[in-house]
């Protein structure tokens, strides 16, 4: 990649909260399968997506992430029964809050997969990265530059 293109193309920072029992393993499988997904995605392993709280999603965006992905187990397959469903509701809550403050609900999303679905993880990571790339940088960055 030339230095010129790296300057012009926006490379989003994506934080992915990945469940130990599914998405984190799926990311591992993706690696074993030599499937590539964007290096923009920084994975944080959590014991269950039910552990991911509203504040974690908010702080990730506040501290510079352009998008946050929550990756949990398929519906009905949560190791702790309903952690993924709780996460889904929290993501919905954060989406509404992000719309309220003008950051935009599209910057947070949830995906589900099983531990063996390396392909699904790679695809979700790529699609979300592209979606955020199209949206552009987190608007707080522009505002912070103006305020400085």
């Amino acid at each position: 990649m030339s230095s010129e293109s790296s300057e012009t193309q926006f490379e989003p920072i994506i934080v992915a909260f990945a469940c130990h029992y599914c998405a984190y393993s799926a990311a591992d499988v993706a690696g074993s399968m030599r499937l590539s997904y964007p290096a923009n995605v920084k994975i944080i392993k959590v014991p269950c997506t039910g552990k991911v709280d509203t504040i974690h999603l908010m702080r990730a965006l506040q501290r510079g992430a352009d998008g946050v992905l929550v990756a949990g187990c398929l519906e009905g397959d949560c190791h702790f029964k309903t952690g993924n469903l709780r996460a889904q509701k929290r993501v919905a809550y954060v989406k509404a809050l992000l719309d309220d403050i003008g950051i935009g609900s599209q910057r947070v999303d949830m995906v589900t997969m099983s531990a063996g679905q390396g392909q699904a993880f790679a695809q979700a990571a790529s699609e979300f990265t592209e979606k955020i790339r199209a949206l552009g940088p987190n608007p707080i960055k522009d505002g912070a530059a103006k305020a400085a």
Partner: protein
């Protein structure tokens, strides 16, 4: 508990707009239990406000703090050592907390971040329902432990109105008719005789109709 809900962000933004440095102040009591203004909600609102202001290109410094209780002077006193640093205190407590803080620090704007709603009980995780109006003269002994003041839409004292329909209230089919609940419970308790006991017109002065209420316990006063 006293229940509350966070005010809309837009309204909060208007409140904090004139200030450069604010203290977002939570309360460890009722508003923590109903997820409106405890330590966690303070963090979420601080983050949301910080991002909203950054997006606008405005700077605001937000510190977070949560008191054990905002409605007791001894806990509100803890603010004395830090309050001078702030242009305003944004309280996430109920109206009682906001007013206690405001009374203690007369020179400091104290702004409400939540709407205080009702005295309620938790029906299930995430659902709170009104259970008490604080009418000052409890009648639960005669009504099977179900309050007709808080739970009947008309606060009727002697049986249901004509709007009771299959156990539901005419205002909304999702609302139980309190008097149906009372009758069912009195029946199961074998206390239906209480139903025919006529309640006199209620004196609403202890409910607040006689002006602001106060409890004075001289045995406890210093």
């Amino acid at each position: 508990m006293i229940t509350a809900e966070r005010k809309p962000i837009e309204e909060i933004m208007e409140y904090v707009a004139p200030f450069k440095k604010i203290l977002l102040l939570g309360c460890n009591e009722c508003v923590t239990v109903c997820y409106a203004g405890g330590r966690k909600e303070v963090g979420i609102l601080a983050s949301a406000l910080a991002m909203a202001m950054m997006k606008k290109g405005q700077k605001i410094e937000i510190d977070e703090m949560t008191l054990e209780r905002q409605c007791d002077p001894e806990y509100v006193e803890e603010l004395a050592r830090v309050i001078d640093q702030y242009d305003a205190v944004c309280s996430m407590a109920c109206g009682c907390g906001v007013q206690t803080v405001a009374a203690r620090y007369p020179g400091k704007p104290v702004l409400p971040m939540v709407n205080t709603e009702f005295m309620g009980a938790s029906e299930q995780q995430g659902v709170w329902a009104e259970r008490c109006r604080g009418c000052g003269n409890c009648v639960l002994a005669y009504t099977g432990g179900i309050c007709p003041i808080a739970r009947c839409s008309k606060s009727l004292l002697n049986g249901p109105c004509g709007g009771s329909d299959n156990g539901k209230c005419e205002i909304d089919p999702s609302v139980d008719c309190a008097w149906q609940l009372i009758w069912d419970r009195l029946k199961s308790l074998g206390q239906t005789d209480l139903y025919s006991r006529i309640m006199e017109p209620k004196d609403w002065r202890p409910a607040g109709g006689g002006g602001p209420r106060k409890i004075v316990r001289e045995d406890l006063m210093s």
